[in-house]
């Protein structure tokens, strides 16, 4: 049944099944095998609302080039069963070239959007094939079939299986390899999918990592050694990765009773001199806002990573959206200068989180990192991020000379005042959320208030953020202005348009607060057309831009709420035709 197909530059596939069918495990193995073989790849997960046992899907895109976005369409879907498969319908665009492989014994349960859709179909008897192997499982059959269809070298898959199952022992490895072999043997009967070119095998200097792990690593690189945690989807993996990692590097993670406690614990740890972080999602950030204001007023550095999910309220915990932007920027009581930064890729989660620690420590103020589910819970093969020399550097105070008094909130040119760490003789002071004078004594006087407001504002306004305020790419009179996880699809779209009449450039903002007004205004010079792209319903990013810079009146705006990902194809048509496809 197979016919030779052209080599593709990237191939996209879905492994779907009910909970317990092991599709996520199989997806992870496939990504690891592809990485071993020398391909790049991106895997996102989609799951139903059930805690355990619901439907799940591993969405993979593999390529010989780095992958920055989910695809416009899928080449291959393997469903181990059809339970609730229709729930994924919106997330898995099919077309007449898509190959759908289902379980032969459950053919009758195939959902209508598949049977009536344009895709090509094949059936595999997953159940009986796996039964024939002692310890065999349908997900391993599927893995073997996929590998054969897309041209994944067998030894890479075998090696990935051995790695993943090392703890389960030799029998599990043998059973899985036999399953994969059985899957390979039936692949020839399936409709053909594109194959990826045989990988070069050159993979030194690459990592396989999720955005949440990358954020945790960036924090540790930056010097964070104290974390207080309260679990919340989709941020928990940051905390779970950091917990043992911190222990190894001499740090500590404490589980708190709620987010009110976790942020206050982090502030307490940092006040003690240990760079500190907490990670959460929208509902947790909402609880933390009062204490983040305290960190601004008392000038204690702290990093808060918000892995955004669909809102408002409990919203859609397992899916992505950029709709906490307003909260991160504006939710603190009073005039409270703080830092808001956003990573724009899985790889950049390392850099931006590390940078946030540097910024918080240098300016002695809280920094909020706005990641999201699309970055945090996705796993990718990336070029190893360069080690940047951003290590937490806090200006500290030492015992003053005889006759001199330490002033914790001394007014300085930069606004940053040397901070005495507890234990330093002669510098005892009280950190305070009450307005205070330079010494720290509470004061409600107009003069003290104005001086301290100015000083705190100066810290973040006058800081040199260098080139890092944004990533820019491409060329052209048209500028696509975006941030966060929308950046990947925009980049891919612009690569597709490069060299055509519609070539455009991108500005992806990493620094959101303080708003880099001058840098952005300058970067927009010469733009004939500006298209703002974001993933919210109300256009929060657009509102932010309008409030901060003189954006052209006719700037175009593409904003869609979650949970569907931005797709490169939509951005291409947006640039070409002014509307998404």
């Amino acid at each position: 049944m197979n016919q030779p197909t052209d080599n593709a530059t990237s191939i996209s596939l879905v492994l779907a099944g009910s909970g317990g069918s092991g599709v996520i495990t199989a997806g992870n193995m496939l990504l690891a095998a592809a990485a071993k073989a020398g391909w790049y790849g991106l895997m996102t997960r989609s799951a139903g609302p059930q805690i355990r046992g619901g439907e799940a899907a591993a969405l993979l895109r593999l390529s010989s080039e780095p992958v920055s976005a989910q695809p416009d369409r899928y080449d291959l879907i393997i469903a181990l069963d059809w339970m609730n498969f229709e729930r994924f319908a919106d997330e898995i665009p099919l077309d007449e070239n898509t190959v759908i492989i289902g379980d032969a014994s459950a053919a009758k349960k195939t959902p209508a959007f598949v049977t009536e859709g344009p895709a090509r179909r094949g059936d595999i008897d997953f159940k009986n094939l796996s039964k024939a192997i002692p310890g065999g499982r349908p997900n391993m059959i599927a893995l073997g079939t996929v590998g054969a269809l897309i041209g994944l070298p067998e030894d890479a898959l075998d090696a990935a299986l051995s790695d993943a199952l090392a703890k389960r022992g030799e029998d599990a490895i043998t059973a899985s390899r036999a399953g994969a072999q059985a899957g390979r043997s039936v692949a020839a009967d399936m409709p053909a999918t594109p194959k990826l070119p045989t990988p070069e095998g050159e993979k030194a200097g690459r990592w396989l990592i999720s955005g949440n792990e990358a954020a945790g690593l960036g924090a540790i690189r930056g010097g964070v050694r104290f974390v207080a945690a309260y679990p919340i989807t989709p941020a928990t993996e940051i905390l779970e990765w950091m917990s043992p990692a911190l222990t190894k590097v001499g740090g500590v993670l404490v589980q708190a009773e709620d987010e009110l406690a976790s942020i206050n614990m982090a502030i307490g740890g940092s006040y003690g001199g240990v760079p500190a972080l907490t990670a959460t999602s929208g509902p947790g950030l909402a609880l933390m806002t009062e204490a983040i204001g305290l960190a601004v007023a008392s000038e204690v550095p702290v990093v808060i990573v918000d892995v955004m999910r669909g809102g408002p309220s409990t919203g859609i915990p397992t899916k992505s959206e950029q709709s906490d932007l307003n909260m991160a920027l504006y939710a603190l009581p009073g005039d409270a200068p703080h830092i808001v930064v956003a990573p724009n890729s899985i790889r950049d989660c390392v850099f931006t989180t590390q940078w946030s620690v540097h910024l918080a420590e240098a300016m002695q103020t809280p920094a909020i990192v706005l990641s999201d589910q699309a970055l945090g819970q996705a796993k990718s093969v990336i070029a190893a991020p360069a080690d940047i020399a951003f290590i937490a550097q806090r200006e500290t105070a030492s015992t003053p000379a005889q006759g001199e008094n330490y002033q914790r909130y001394a007014v300085t040119a930069s606004g940053v005042s040397p901070m005495a760490l507890p234990g330093t003789p002669g510098c005892a002071y009280t950190a305070d959320g009450l307005e205070h004078n330079p010494r720290g004594t509470p004061s409600g006087g107009a003069k003290d208030h104005h001086i301290q407001l100015d000083k705190r504002q100066r810290k973040t306004d006058d800081f040199d953020y260098g080139q890092h305020w944004a990533d820019q790419a491409g060329e052209g009179d048209t500028v696509v202005l975006t941030w966060g996880s929308c950046t990947g699809p925009v980049l891919e779209a612009l690569e597709n348009l490069a060299g055509t009449d519609d070539a455009a450039r991108m500005i992806s903002m990493r620094l959101l607060m303080p708003a880099p007004k001058d840098q952005l205004t300058k970067a927009l010079e010469g733009a004939k057309r500006v298209i703002v792209v974001e993933q919210t319903h109300s256009g929060q990013f657009m509102g932010y831009l309008r409030a901060n810079i003189d954006l052209p009146r006719d700037a175009e705006h593409y904003c869609i709420p979650g949970p569907l990902p931005m797709r490169p194809g939509d951005i291409v048509s947006l640039v070409k035709e002014g509307t998404p496809s």
Binding site: A35, K36, A204, R206, W207, L208, I209, E213, L217, I220, R221, R225, F226, A228, A245, T247, K248, V249, G250, V252, V254, A256, E257, D258, L260, A261, S262, N264, M265, A266, I267, G268, G269, S270, Y271, G272, G273, V274, A276, A291, G293, L294, S298, V381, A384, P422, G423, P425, G426, C427, A428, Y429, T430, A431, D432, G433, L434, G440, T441, P442
Partner: protein, 279 residues
């Protein structure tokens, strides 16, 4: 006595007092509590820079700035997590937490239970005046149900919270009650509380002369606990459940080990962590 200790001057309570004038009303019980705290520190001869006083918001929570130790005057109700973060990150510091009945039992009630349970080595001093003093006289969780006030005229109608019983049930490792009218006695309790490992809870009856002038009577109501402190949970529970709220002294002394995860002992480098992601 070695030569070294001979030349170390002994600290006096003054060493722990700042020159900032308290905002408290004349006669407020909290003045005396401040005195007990500085006395306890001096008797333990702690170097002021190695002591931190952490608080939330309320009249009572103003204490940190009135000491010459490291301090943190945080937000309302969150002093305990703030202090726990400091102590876990800096086990070398002696950390005392100052709070009020509103700050500690109402808005901060959840942290109170979990701090008892977590058992970080902190001394938690709650100045209980059965009223929200700072916001000018509303009922708190320890206020009598029929106490008339502007927010709940005729009284809240809710029976009071029993903080010592809750502390015991939640796992506090040391439980005592003091009275601000007895500065030396309270200093002694605090000294013991600071020395006791784990989470030590000291309720100090500290009258609000402005909004609860009736509490001037407390000096006649308090009495010393007639029995020795126990480490027996059952006996302690019975004693705390049946006491009249004016029993003063150490009431429970537990033997749980303090919560202090190791910090500062690295067994790997950041590069080792990164190696796990490399292909």
């Amino acid at each position: 006595m070695t030569a070294e200790t001979a030349i170390t001057p002994k600290h006096t309570p003054r060493d722990y007092k700042s020159d900032i004038k308290p905002v408290w009303c004349p006669g407020c019980g909290d003045y005396s509590v401040l005195g007990s705290i500085t006395k306890a520190f001096s008797e333990l001869n702690l170097d002021p820079e190695n002591v931190a006083v952490i608080s939330g918001i309320g009249c009572s929570s103003r204490i940190p700035a009135y000491t010459d130790c490291y301090g943190f005057h945080g937000v309302h109700g969150r002093s305990l997590p703030l202090a726990a973060g400091l102590k876990v990150a800096r086990p070398d510091m002696t950390v005392l937490v100052a709070s009020g009945d509103g700050d500690g039992f109402s808005i901060g009630g959840n942290h109170f239970m979990h701090a008892c349970r977590r058992n970080v080595d902190l001394t938690y001093v709650v100045m209980d005046n059965r009223v929200y003093g700072m916001t000018k006289g509303q009922a708190s969780p320890t206020t009598e149900p029929d106490w008339d006030n502007a927010l709940t005229p005729g009284g809240s109608g809710i029976s009071p919270f029993r903080p010592l019983v809750i502390a015991l049930a939640a796992g506090a490792n040391f439980i005592a009650r003091g009275f601000s009218g007895d500065q030396n006695g309270t200093a002694k309790l605090l000294k013991e509380a600071i020395e006791h490992p784990g989470f030590s809870f000291v309720q100090i009856l500290s009258p609000c002369v402005t909004f609860r002038p009736d509490q001037k009577e407390w000096k006649d109501d308090v009495h010393d606990a007639t029995v020795d402190p126990t480490d027996d949970l059952g006996r302690a529970a019975r004693r705390l459940m049946t006491d009249d709220g004016f029993n003063v002294g150490v009431l429970y002394r537990g033997e749980r080990e303090a919560f202090q995860p190791p910090i500062g002992n690295a067994s790997a480098t950041v590069a080792d962590l990164e190696g796990k992601f490399a292909l």
